[in-house]
């Protein structure tokens, strides 16, 4: 019987900073101290605090260590686990994360206070490679209940009443989708879990799969029972090796226990899952392209209708749902539609997971009830912009979404409010921008991504997005005209209305939203030939204010191209703008603020 559990984060973030070695070192050190029968080390999924990683949590003491290195492990074992003395210097002490800085207790972490974890409920709590731990926290209970006591229609009715909407971006009601498929004739039907997650900056789905793969298996089994399918596909990008591996382990364990396969729970229901790896193209997350890819064809979208619910994979009825959507399903069936629909706003029920990134102190993964405001997420959970920089905007919805400004910070987040405010929920990427971000450059970044990812099947997207990118590039170089802004806007609407799939239809959003909120920044680039944030290199000139220059020569010594000349102690330094490559080194080198950028 173990007296203590040490939970080592084995999510992608912490694995990248060597948490596997930490895990191994723990096992070794425990042996050395003769504690291997008293203390158990467990690998778990992402805690959501990746920036503080690698994370190690000790239960039942509820002590949270951050930035742990493999070398720290012996100290934790000899001091904390052997002698009971918490290793203070490794404890999380960040005032932004803790409510009271002297109480070190996982439950007191501010970061989690505003959160409500449903989809992420087991991430960082259980060992994802041990199906028994999932079972211990009520795993597969919902499936058992559904198979033994509910009809497929009853399951769908619960889903409809719960108000759950798709978390993959479009927000379609999940129960309604299942009903479409169930109502189709025929015995050969399929379900698909969309784990493509192509939005740059999003990693919610990866974390769920890494931290709680059994929840996806259970959710898919319930989905299959409801719609009448017997085979499910998980379509996941090959760039997620840890998630793929954990899924495979979980599927094998579920098969061994008879939770997948024939005659599940002795009810005669058969279901199994096949994992399909994608090459990581953004467009393959679009459902019709994804289905083509599963069938071994090139991943290109097809016109809808027919919708997948009518003719999906292999031409048969298919329901396709996002990872996070599916992760909510077992909880809804277990706790009931009433419980679920009591969380959130009128038209958006439940919680949403966001991947917080960009210019924010606590980057990481957060799950909040719908209706939480952007301000709560960015300031109360995220801790605001670091280095006292001024908040400028927050980008939601990735390449399909838009930017929201200070004015919208108090908007309760749900599907409809975000669209009204000119952005969208998307899959849950949330990137905070501060005064140092140029909005034209941000729009250009997303357009570049779209041009790379457009599959080329239809002209508006293939040609149109290229034209948009050309115009944006010209503007960032100071070669834009005011007419271009109208031209861009016009083209945006055309692409939105004529592109074949969602990728093209939503591609103009980053431009449209920055144009509407930050038109003055575009104008500054075009008319004044200036980039107010100091990002667009072609519009920057560095110069030295001779009155402020103390003739110390620091700048000249740091310049990589010898563009600065002067005589130490005698003549103020000057920059030769024809040689200058705008690297900014002189500006950071000068301790007297004599170098200016404009």
């Amino acid at each position: 019987m173990y007296r203590t559990n040490v939970l080592c984060c084995a999510g992608t973030g912490c694995t990248a900073s060597n948490s596997q070695q930490i895990y191994d070192n723990f096992n070794e050190a425990l042996k050395k101290y003769g504690l291997e029968d008293e203390v158990k080390v467990i690998k778990t999924g992402c805690f959501g605090l990746c920036q503080k990683g690698p994370i190690v949590a000790v239960y039942p003491d509820k002590v949270f260590y951050n930035h742990v290195t493999p070398e720290d492990v012996e100290k934790i074992v000899s001091e904390h686990l052997y002698k009971g003395r918490v290793v203070k210097e490794l404890e999380m002490t960040d005032e932004d994360l803790l409510t009271k800085e002297t109480i070190y207790d996982i439950d007191k972490i501010k970061f989690y206070e505003k959160q409500q974890r449903i989809a992420l409920r087991n991430c960082g709590k259980i060992n994802p490679e041990d199906i028994y731990e999932y079972i211990a926290v009520d795993g597969y209970e919902a499936l058992g209940k559904v198979l033994t006591s509910m009809t497929p229609q009853e399951v769908i009715d619960v889903m409809k009443a719960s108000g759950l909407r798709g978390r993959g971006g479009a927000g379609f009601p999940t129960g309604v989708k299942w009903q479409f498929e169930k109502d189709q004739p025929g015995d050969e039907k399929y379900v698909i879990c969309n784990a493509d997650e192509g939005d740059p900056g999003a990693f919610m789905d990866r974390s769920i799969l890494e931290g709680d793969p059994n929840a996806i298996i259970e959710g898919m089994a319930i989905m299959a029972y409801a719609v009448g399918a017997h085979l499910g596909y998980i379509y996941i990008r090959a760039e997620y090796p840890i998630a793929v591996n954990r899924l495979r382990i979980a599927i094998n364990q579920a098969r061994e226990l008879g939770l997948l396969g024939k005659n599940i729970f002795g009810t005669g229901f058969d279901f199994d899952i096949d994992v399909r790896l994608g090459a990581g193209a953004f467009v393959c997350g679009e459902e019709t392209a994804l289905i083509a890819s599963i069938e071994g064809k090139r991943g290109m979208p097809n016109p809808k209708p027919p919708f997948p619910a009518v003719a999906g994979v292999w031409g048969k009825p298919t329901s396709i749902n996002n990872v996070e959507t599916i992760a909510n399903v077992p909880q809804i069936l277990l706790k009931g539609a009433e419980w679920y629909s009591s969380i959130g706003t009128e038209k958006s029920k439940g919680t949403k997971v966001f991947a917080l990134g960009g210019k924010i102190k606590n980057t990481g993964l957060v799950e909040v009830p719908m209706g939480t405001t952007l301000r709560e997420i960015i300031y109360e959970i995220g801790g605001g912009c670091p280095n006292n920089k001024e908040f400028k905007a927050v980008q939601t919805g990735g390449p399909s979404g838009g930017c929201l400004t200070e004015k919208e910070l108090d908007t309760p987040i749900d599907y409809d409010n975000l669209i009204k405010a000119g952005s969208m929920m998307g899959s849950g990427g949330m990137i905070v921008l501060d005064e140092d971000n140029c909005m034209v450059d941000v729009a250009r970044f997303y357009m570049e991504f779209i041009v790379d990812e457009s599959c080329g099947k239809c002209t508006p997207c293939r040609v149109g997005t290229k034209r948009l990118l050309e115009m944006l590039t010209k503007i960032t170089k100071g070669e834009g005209t005011l007419e271009m802004l109208d031209e861009m806007e016009q083209l945006c609407y055309e692409i939105r209305n004529t592109a074949l799939c969602g990728l093209g239809q939503t591609a103009p959003n980053p431009i449209l939203s920055t144009l509407s909120h930050f038109r003055d920044e575009y104008i500054a680039h075009i008319v004044d030939k200036k980039c107010p944030a100091g990002v667009c290199k072609d519009l920057l000139t560095y110069s030295i204010d001779p009155d402020k220059c103390k003739k110390c020569s620091m700048c000249a010594r740091g310049c990589p191209v010898q563009a600065i000349s002067g005589v130490p102690g005698k003549e103020p330094y000057v920059i030769d703008t024809t040689k200058c490559i705008k690297c900014g080194a002189c500006m950071s080198a000068c301790r007297f603020g004599a170098v200016t950028r404009g």
């Binding site: 002698k83 009971g84 003395r85 731990e133 079972i135 211990a136 926290v137």
Partner: protein, 124 residues
């Protein structure tokens, strides 16, 4: 696994693996485990507490702490109740540990004669 019944059995078995990560217990039992405590025999006390709590499902978590500063009284076991009330047992051995669990955690009766106050008064 062929039935809900099987799942339930499996869960009860599996629960022991994760139970200590669930917070809310009525009591928190803390063993002093610094060098002095270990030398005085705190480790067998700790092991006994852990084993019996698991076996008899007492409503408490068992944790350890460093030096409490009363080295002459080690091994020391402190019991914290939900309302913050707090009892310090001293010179605990595995047998006394079992009694403390059965009486204090199990029935809510403090064993006065093992507490630090009783022992201190005796000394006077």
């Amino acid at each position: 696994m062929k039935s809900l019944e099987d799942l339930k059995k499996m869960r009860e078995e599996a629960l022991k693996r994760v139970e200590m990560r669930e917070g809310d217990k009525d009591y928190r039992v803390v063993v002093g485990m610094a060098t002095c405590g270990i030398a005085a025999g705190a480790r067998p006390v700790l092991n006994r507490l852990v084993e019996e709590t698991a076996e008899k499902s007492y409503n408490c978590t068992i944790t350890q702490t460093g030096c409490i500063g009363m080295c002459v009284y080690e091994p020391i076991v402190e019991v914290y109740g939900k309302d913050g009330e707090h009892t310090t047992y001293v010179h605990v051995n595995p047998e006394k540990a079992s009694e403390i669990l059965a009486e204090h955690i199990g029935k809510g009766h403090v064993i006065d004669e093992y507490t630090v106050n009783a022992v201190q008064n005796q000394g006077v």
